[in-house]
């Protein structure tokens, strides 16, 4: 396959692409796999007659099966291709394989349930953990919600391992203040567009976009003290430090100290942790074309991000992110995401990134070099990189 194109042609191509990016972002797209599955009218991203992966429960066990009051037991499960799987009562949403220690006060029957079974059915399997001298208490899924835990200082306890999940773009439920979910470049700055180079976005080992720190498909763990909240992200092993009550340094406010993650200061507003971040270098970009992930725009050193982090229920964290870059973009834009607790994780998983240039070389082989549009010709200066 051979492609030849001139610089003028690229400019012609760019305008509809930017419009396409905007239009695509405006729609709800939890994930492209789901989108494609819907396009095929199936639960997987393959059309007929290809087989769809079906959920299966491989193992569900408890050890020991009988305990004395006050003792605990370990439940272990293993599944394949689970969808929205839960282990109840008390545990909640879980991933494909795991183990968790439980300490029921009375004999309890635990049920592992998953969507996506044969013919799209729900599959389930149960086991009973016997607590000597007790009667089994009937458990329903409509139990009272578990209270949001609090720290000794009375603040909500944000700690735990949370799943990045899919971004909730396009859902009115997450629409706050009618703000757009992606930035709109001001007139004259439309050529700030960047595209989804696989080496930089998905296949590369680099921090790429703001605010992609939390996922979307990876986990992050929050550790909290009265003075500091630390968010550690699985992808790229990023850690962000939110200093409670601190103020931005002059170097950051003057645009002289830049970094990939910027400088974050935080304060509490009621039960919400408000994190203010400035000082992003120019290696990252903002705004995303699909599911808040790929494509976007370059930004300036004045990019400003405010995150409002609230534990809205025992097992759900909400992060409302508002960004602005008045020099380049019209008004602020806002993204609201929700992240589920992963109770079986006691620590954020390890992530080792291995670059894939050779593989993409093969994919690109046969395509001819093309002149570059002007907006790709300029690299950030060392100062803009934060050096």
């Amino acid at each position: 396959m051979t492609i030849k194109i001139c610089k003028q042609c690229l400019v012609i191509f760019m305008t509809p692409l930017v419009l396409m990016m905007t239009a695509t972002d405006a729609a709800a797209q939890p994930s492209s796999t789901q989108t494609q599955a819907a396009a095929f009218g199936r639960s997987c991203a393959l059309p007929e007659p290809f087989p769809c992966p079906e959920a299966r429960i491989v193992e569900l066990s408890v050890e020991p099966a009988v305990i004395e009051p006050g003792e605990s037991a370990r439940i272990t499960w293993a599944t394949e291709n689970p969808v929205n799987m839960t282990l109840n009562p008390t545990v909640g949403r879980v991933e494909a394989r795991g183990t968790i220690r439980v300490t029921p006060s009375a004999t309890t029957t635990y049920t592992l349930r998953s969507e996506g079974g044969p013919n799209g059915d729900v599959i389930s399997q149960s086991l009973t953990l016997t607590v000597r001298g007790t009667q089994e208490v009937a458990m329903t899924e409509s139990n009272e919600p578990r209270p949001i835990p609090r720290m000794p200082d009375g603040k909500p306890d944000l700690q735990g391992v949370w799943f990045g999940g899919w971004w909730y773009l396009g859902s009115e439920e997450y629409d706050r203040g009618g703000l757009p979910r992606i930035p709109t470049p001001k007139p004259g700055f439309e050529d700030l567009a960047v595209v989804d180079d696989p080496l930089e976005i998905g296949a590369g080992c680099k921090i790429t976009s703001v605010p992609w720190f939390y996922g979307p498909i990876y986990h992050f763990q929050i550790v909290q003290t009265p003075e500091t909240v630390v968010s550690m992200t699985e992808r790229m092993h990023l850690y962000r430090i939110f200093q409670i009550g601190a103020e931005h340094s002059d170097d950051v406010l003057n645009g002289e100290k830049l970094s990939f993650l910027g400088e974050s200061v935080a304060h509490w507003e009621g039960d919400t942790l408000v994190v203010d971040t400035r000082g992003f270098n120019l290696e990252t970009h903002v705004g995303k074309r699909e599911a808040a992930q790929v494509g976007g725009w370059r930004h300036s050193v004045n990019l400003h991000m405010v995150e409002r982090i609230t534990r809205i229920s025992y097992d759900m964290l909400e992060i409302e992110t508002t960004l602005e870059d008045p020099e380049l973009f019209e008004g602020p834009w806002r993204i609201v995401n929700r992240h589920e607790l992963r109770p079986e994780y006691s620590r954020v998983p390890e992530y080792i990134c291995i670059q894939e240039e050779e593989f993409y070389d093969e994919m690109l082989d046969g395509l001819e070099e093309v002149p570059l549009p002007m907006w790709l010709e300029r690299d950030p200066t060392n100062a803009e990189r934060g050096l």
Partner: protein
């Protein structure tokens, strides 16, 4: 690859990166299905194919997993297919373990083939020797 070597010699790594940006930009302009995790513009995900072959290498890793299988082409020649699968973390969420796929096993891979005709695909599902189908 020659293009890459040429660019590396002339302008350093960033020039090659820019070439890729431009190429991906072009391909992204085509009416292809886009991936959630990264661009799948290099693959025809709307017209998936099935490839049956023997597993040679299983490299489950981030940011994407790469699996190599050896299949026969129409002339009976052995061709090594590269299957790009989701990252290690996503496969783990689908129940994959280190032993789910073993070298030497005969499997059938389902996914979108490379647009440029390379023996490669973005893997959507794989059928194991015992008939189980694993999502990716």
């Amino acid at each position: 690859m020659t293009i890459r070597k040429k660019l590396l010699n002339q302008r350093g790594c960033s020039a090659f990166k820019r070439l890729k940006l431009a190429l991906i930009f072009l391909i992204a302009s085509m009416p292809t299905q886009l991936s959630a995790h990264h661009s799948t513009a290099l693959f025809d995900t709307e017209n998936p194919i099935a490839v049956t072959g023997v597993v040679e290498v299983v490299n489950l890793k981030n940011p994407h997993s790469l699996i190599y299988i050896i299949a026969n082409d129409e002339d009976g020649n052995e061709v090594t297919w590269t299957l790009e699968a989701e990252p290690l973390i996503t496969l783990r969420q689908k129940g994959w373990t280190a032993t789910t796929l073993q070298p030497g096993e005969t499997v059938t891979a389902y996914g979108g083939p490379a647009i440029n005709g390379s023996p490669a695909m973005i893997l959507r599902a794989i059928q194991l020797p015992d008939g189980r189908v694993m999502g990716t």
